[in-house]
């Protein structure tokens, strides 16, 4: 499963919901085929995706998704116990794990040698794992239907899609647009 294929499934499943997206190639690949007001791409805040998603989910009554990466999660690994403890039922964190820092010259990440999903399970977080598109769709759907917070760890192919344009949006505009999307959904 290529990352851009996984992103297509996630974008479809969260089309009517909020989505916080990790930085680098992940944000660029998603934006290359889908730009929604309900998307918050973090352009350079590596390690912050899951914390931001947790905050959004605690302040918003509807469904919130996070697209994190193995490298980004490892950079801010202290969020895992925080997620385990506060665990908002409306939050699903999806970790696209290519076992490398694909946006940092493809350097192997520590996920190549450790089991991130097992670490989350060890903290008591409900976890689904998958390694193909059908499995990803099923894992996300069942996690959201469970009525509890959960994480989906999806193994994806290494590397990045070719010819993806840079994402040169103004972060202030992205933030304000996303906040308006949250506000309009909260009011409905």
């Amino acid at each position: 499963m290529k990352r851009i294929e996984a992103l297509t499934v996630i974008d479809e499943l969260f089309a009517g919901d909020l989505l916080v997206v990790t930085c680098g190639a992940t944000a660029r690949e998603l934006a290359s085929f889908s730009r929604r007001d309900s998307h918050l791409p973090l352009l350079d805040a590596m390690g912050l995706t899951s914390p931001v998603g947790l905050g959004v989910a605690l302040g918003y009554p509807g469904s919130v998704g996070v697209i994190d990466g193995d490298g980004s999660l490892l950079m801010g690994f202290s969020i895992l116990p925080t997620l385990a403890i506060y665990a908002p039922a409306n939050l699903t964190v999806i970790v696209l794990d290519n076992e490398q820092h694909a946006s940092a010259d493809l350097v192997p990440s520590q996920a190549a040698r450790i089991d991130l999903a097992a670490a989350a399970r060890g903290l008591g977080i409900p976890v689904e794992t998958c390694n193909d598109l059908a499995g990803l769709r099923e894992a996300i759907t069942s996690t959201r239907a469970s009525g509890t917070f959960g994480m989906v760890f999806a193994k994806i192919e290494p590397g990045n899609s070719a010819d993806i344009p840079l994402l040169l949006a103004d972060p202030a505009v992205l933030g304000a647009t996303f906040a308006r999307a949250v506000g309009s959904r909260s009011a409905n």
Binding site: V20, L40, L42, L43, D44, A45, G47, L48, T49, S50, P51, V52, G53, L54, G55, V56, A57, L58, G59, Y60, G76, S78, I79, P81, T82, Y86, P171, A172, L174, G175, A176, F178, A179, V182, G183, S186
Partner: protein
Amino acid sequence: MKKAGPRLNAIVDGLMDWGIENLVYVPSSHAAPVIRGLEARGVPSLMANREEEAVGIAGGLALAGRKVAILMQDNGFGNAMTALATFAVQYHIPIPIFANSRGGLGEYNAMIHSISEAAPKMLNSIGVRVERLTVSDRVDVWRANTSAAAKISVMQHRPIVTLFDALHPLIEPAE
């Protein structure tokens, strides 16, 4: 367990005046009386393990429309700098941050001043405004300035840091 004196209680009062809805904090013995004071007033609190994590969580809450503040200690701004610069500042996120300052005239630790003395300069260098509450300020000034800093953070769509000196020898003891 430390109890709050009048000035630390004034921070609690000031944040309640503002209408705080959520608190995100990183543990600190000197900020703890403020944290407990807000929790006692019914403000939902969340403990983060690191300062950058707190910035992310509070930023998410702010984007969801919540009035949220961070309580922490100023020696943690080294951890928080990238999160503040690349997220809170760039995305125009209103987060009032209140941090007890270390390394001052009441300090008891031999090394902490190196980071605490640099913290305001570091914050200014990424465009974060820094206000101060000192032992020379009256209690009502602590309350009014706390509320004002939070209001300005929201009005100007940016994080603002307020440093408060909880260790000065003349800071009032708990009542």
